[in-house]
């Protein structure tokens, strides 16, 4: 259940789902018409994707991009483990489970760190400075790895 959180992946995913509902440009003035949507053109979708990508590249601080890269890596590792589990089998189930939950856990901890460190969100986290967030992240990861290591057998 590793969620895709990087914009690039998710937008393509959402674009893939978007084959049935109305495209972004058409029907914006007539909400009723959007219930019976016209098929989106590929150009619309790609325009939206490229727009989102550009705004991401432009607006996101470098530190957050680093965090995002780590999250992409974690999603990839999680997917590899999951596919391996389906294809080859889950024999040492403890090992698979601790490996998989460590990627999921690390992912959500990193996502938390990213939210807390994001300057746009600072109004939501009054008591949590980015430094404090990083300390929280380290603490959470230590606990996570301790349990996973204990569970791996």
């Amino acid at each position: 259940m590793a969620p895709k959180r990087t914009p690039r992946q998710a937008v393509t995913k959402a674009g893939a789902v978007s084959s049935s509902p109305s495209p972004a440009t058409a029907g914006a003035s007539t909400p009723a018409a959007s219930r019976i949507p016209a098929l989106p053109t590929a150009a619309d979708t790609s325009a939206i994707v490229s727009q989102a990508w550009n705004s991401y590249v432009a607006d996101t601080p470098r530190k957050l991009k680093l965090v995002d890269a780590f999250m992409v890596f974690l999603v990839a590792v999680g997917l590899i483990q999951f596919v391996y589990c389906i294809l080859v089998g889950n024999y040492p189930f403890n090992a698979f489970l601790s490996g998989f939950s460590i990627t999921v856990g690390q992912f959500v901890l990193t996502a938390s760190l990213r939210m807390q460190a994001n300057p746009n969100n600072s109004s939501q986290f009054e008591k949590v400075t980015p430094e404090r967030a990083f300390a929280d992240f380290i603490f959470g990861s230590l606990v996570l790895h301790f349990f996973a290591y204990n569970f791996i057998n």
Partner: protein, 762 residues
């Protein structure tokens, strides 16, 4: 109370933390002291049934190392199956007391492990009071926190499971429950992964300590879900929930007894689902902020809903294919109170699993039960995120407490919190000496709203100017404050009375009152268990009903067939069948299970109502569940449907092992007056008064021991006859030889008077 804080000078304000510390220490002291009735009245002894197992396991842990404790295979219970004890218990309690024991030993304080176990629950109740203070402080303010701490410290609903000697999982579990909730609220308020990780750590401790951890597993996701539905998703919620769930789930799987349940059983799927939902919501929020188009946002919503329903379908599909275990029977019995009675008699047979009678709400929480809805209402008025949590907890807790008596325990903390919120709001209103300005203005133009304002306590409009009348007058303050102080005093008195009278009996040792008012201690259980310990071979197998399994294991140190763990229904049904069948049917069962002694509890002489004859129907029912042809409940009732043990008792009843072992030679005690069973108030047919009655004859077992007040009777199972005869035939032969020489022994003359003098005080 808080208003006092603002009005006092700064020098006094510095003394407030000290004052608070003193108050909290006093509360903790009161909480501990009020749980010591049982130690003061009786002695430092482990109570009831389950605590005896926990005590035995703790002794094992203290004398062995931790890993052999986890690998412990116990061959002295569930003979001949044995029990994988290390893998089927919640080790939190034992590990806690072993840690305390070793710490004290390292500090060169010589304590007995028994005293650590006895005192564990009171000490942790003091900690619970402190944690409840913290929790309620998050809800309202410190004044409410102190009140809540005082309430939880002495509320009978919690004391019932935490008196000294009640060494059970709940002793530490309520502390952990409140601590986990407090940490969760803290994590949610701050949006900090650190507090989330702490929540997970104490959740882990809770999982290690009590099966009720499932309550936390479901209430926190429910809280998160309700917040999302209310449109209150925030990144703080994401951080708190994700860090708790990802760490807590992995941590909970470390407990051998829990194992893979968190990903395999339906009870845990809700938490996983909310976890996935939060990821989706969090991500869509992130995207929503980036994309300009409204249409695309709709699209994201559609995608979210689609993915969610896909996930739900997957869970349902996996449940049907059997990857995820379906809901267990214990779970169903929470929704349908009749379910257990039909499908799982063993659960229904436990008295604490019965639905709650309404007076017990008042009995266990006294005035808090009517302050409770007021508190919930006040929380609704503010309705911050953490208030939603308490409201959900209040609803779930009330429901579960209505379904099962024992779940009163989980309701009590929230009742205390809400009661404290309500009471401290009242105090805040009425200790505020300032008269609001608006009151004066309104009094000029309005006599019309007089009725309305005086009818509402919290309404601040009133008739206050120069001669102050209405709710702002000193009199109304004095009356309201005074009446609540009286209520508080009554509350304390009620709690002390309930604790002293209802919840402080060890039930291993009974107290009764002699006619002159002095207390008499009935110590039959320990007498009998000590007899077993001293007079039977060490590997003797004792058969008894499962209630006494833990006590026999703990006090007599002998092998038992079934005990309170009740993991194997068939084995229990076997014992039930052996107890409820005729001797000829039972004997092969006894032989096959190598039973050496049978122990029955009989209260007919002294009026002890929790005896085996009263539990007998459950033995019959459980046995009937496995062998419907051989054991039938109907046959134990008279044609008129009554449960009789007197001369109207059915032949099936009269020939059952249990009946015979309970009433064997009972009539000899009474002589010409006729034997009366004091529990059921029925006359047992006695050969001395009724010529048609025949004395009960036991062929395959012989009486080995009967305790002073006949509460415990132990029978030895005879070996096979040396000449290969049937036992009945052998007995008849022996009888025939005896008949010429001896007459039936005269009944002991003092027996009846002695029994009459002691009326059991329950």
């Amino acid at each position: 109370m808080v208003l006092l804080q603002s009005s006092i000078p700064p020098s006094a304000a510095q003394a407030l933390p000290l004052l608070k510390a003193v108050i909290l220490l006093t509360i903790a002291g009161a909480a501990i002291a009020s749980r010591l009735f049982s130690v003061a009245r009786f002695e430092s002894i482990i109570h009831e049934f389950d605590p005896w197992f926990n005590f035995r396991a703790t002794k094992y842990l203290v004398s062995h190392d931790f890993y052999s404790f986890l690998d412990w295979f116990d061959d002295r219970t569930w003979y001949p199956l044995g029990r994988v004890t290390g893998g089927t218990l919640y080790p939190g309690l034992m590990v806690t007391s072993a840690l305390i024991f070793h710490t004290l030993k390292a500090l060169t304080l010589p304590v007995d492990i028994r005293n650590v176990c006895v005192m564990l629950a009171p000490v942790f109740s003091g900690l619970t009071a402190y944690v409840t203070y913290l929790f309620t402080t998050e809800m309202k303010d410190e004044g409410a926190g102190l009140l809540a701490a005082a309430f939880i410290g002495i509320a009978p609903g919690y004391i019932s499971r935490s008196v000294a000697g009640s060494y059970d999982n709940e002793a530490i579990a309520i502390f952990l429950l409140m601590l986990t909730f407090y940490l969760w609220i803290k994590a949610l308020k701050l949006g900090s992964a650190f507090w989330g990780a702490l929540t997970a750590l104490f959740y882990f401790y809770m999982v290690a300590a009590w099966g009720g951890y499932v309550f936390i597993t479901n209430i926190i996701p429910l809280h998160a879900l309700v917040l999302i539905i209310m449109g209150r998703y925030s990144n703080r919620l994401y951080v708190a929930y994700s860090s708790w769930y990802s760490l807590g789930t992995l941590a909970s799987m470390q407990i051998p007894f829990v194992g893979f349940l968190p990903i395999r059983s339906s009870e845990h799927m809700g938490a996983l689902g909310v976890f996935g939902l939060l990821q989706l919501v969090g991500f869509s929020q992130y995207i929503r902020a980036r994309l300009p188009s409204r249409q695309f946002r709709v699209l994201i919503m559609v995608a979210t809903v689609a993915l969610l329903s896909l996930g739900a379908l997957a869970v349902v599909g996996l449940t049907f294919t059997g990857v995820i275990a379906p809901w267990t029977g214990r779970f169903y019995s929470l929704w349908d109170t009749g379910y257990a009675k039909i499908h799982i008699p063993i659960i229904a047979s436990v008295s604490e699993h019965q639905p709650t009678a309404w007076p017990s709400f008042l009995f266990d929480t006294h005035m808090l039960i009517w302050l409770f809805p007021a508190g919930v209402y006040l929380l609704f008025q503010k309705l911050r995120d953490e208030h939603v949590f308490v409201i959900i907890y209040a609803i779930l807790g009330s429901y579960f407490a209505g379904v099962m008596v024992r779940l009163m325990l989980t309701l009590t903390p929230v009742v205390c919190v809400c009661g404290a919120v309500a009471l401290s709001t009242i105090f805040d209103q009425y200790t505020n000496l300032a008269t609001p300005e608006t009151a004066g203005e309104e009094s000029r133009d309005g006599e019309s709203n007089k009725d309305e304002s005086s009818s509402s306590l919290l309404n601040i409009s009133g008739l206050a100017r120069a001669p102050i009348v209405g709710i702002f007058s000193p009199w109304s303050r004095v009356v309201v404050m005074g009446s609540f102080l009286v209520y508080l005093c009554m509350f304390v008195q009620h709690c002390t009375w309930v604790t002293s009278n209802a919840y402080s009996s060890p039930s291993v040792v009974l107290a009764s009152q002699l006619p002159d008012g002095s207390t008499h201690i009935i110590d039959d259980f320990r007498e009998a268990y000590y007899w077993l310990r001293k007079n039977t071979p060490e590997d003797a197998k004792i058969m008894s009903w499962w209630d006494y399994g833990y006590q026999i294991g703990g006090m007599a140190d002998r092998t038992t067939l079934v005990d309170n763990n009740t993991w194997n229904n068939t084995h229990i049904a076997t014992v039930g069948k052996a107890m409820s069948s005729r001797e000829e049917v039972s004997y092969p069962i006894l032989r096959k299970h190598d039973v050496d002694y049978i122990l029955v509890i009989f209260g007919g002489l002294i009026g002890y109502s929790g005896d085996d004859m009263n539990k007998f129907l459950w033995m019959v029912r459980i046995a009937e569940g496995i062998w419907p042809e051989e054991v039938q409940e109907r046959n134990f009732f008279t044609p008129r449907g009554e449960y009789k043990v007197d001369e109207q008792a059915t032949p099936t009843m009269r020939n059952s092992m249990m009946y015979k072992m309970c009433y064997y030679r009972f009539t000899e005690l009474f002589g010409r007056q006729g034997a009366v069973d004091r529990v059921r108030n029925q006359r047992i047919p006695s050969p001395t008064t009724d010529s048609s009655a025949t004395p009960i004859q036991l062929n395959t077992v012989e009486e080995a021991f009967t305790s002073e007040n006949w509460i415990v009777r132990i029978y030895k199972v005879k070996g096979l006859d040396l000449f290969g005869r049937e036992h009945a035939a052998a007995m008849a032969f022996e009888e025939g030889k005896k008949r010429g020489g001896r007459t039936i022994r005269a009944p002991p003359s003092g027996g009846h008077g002695k029994g009459k003098a002691r009326v059991l005080r329950v």
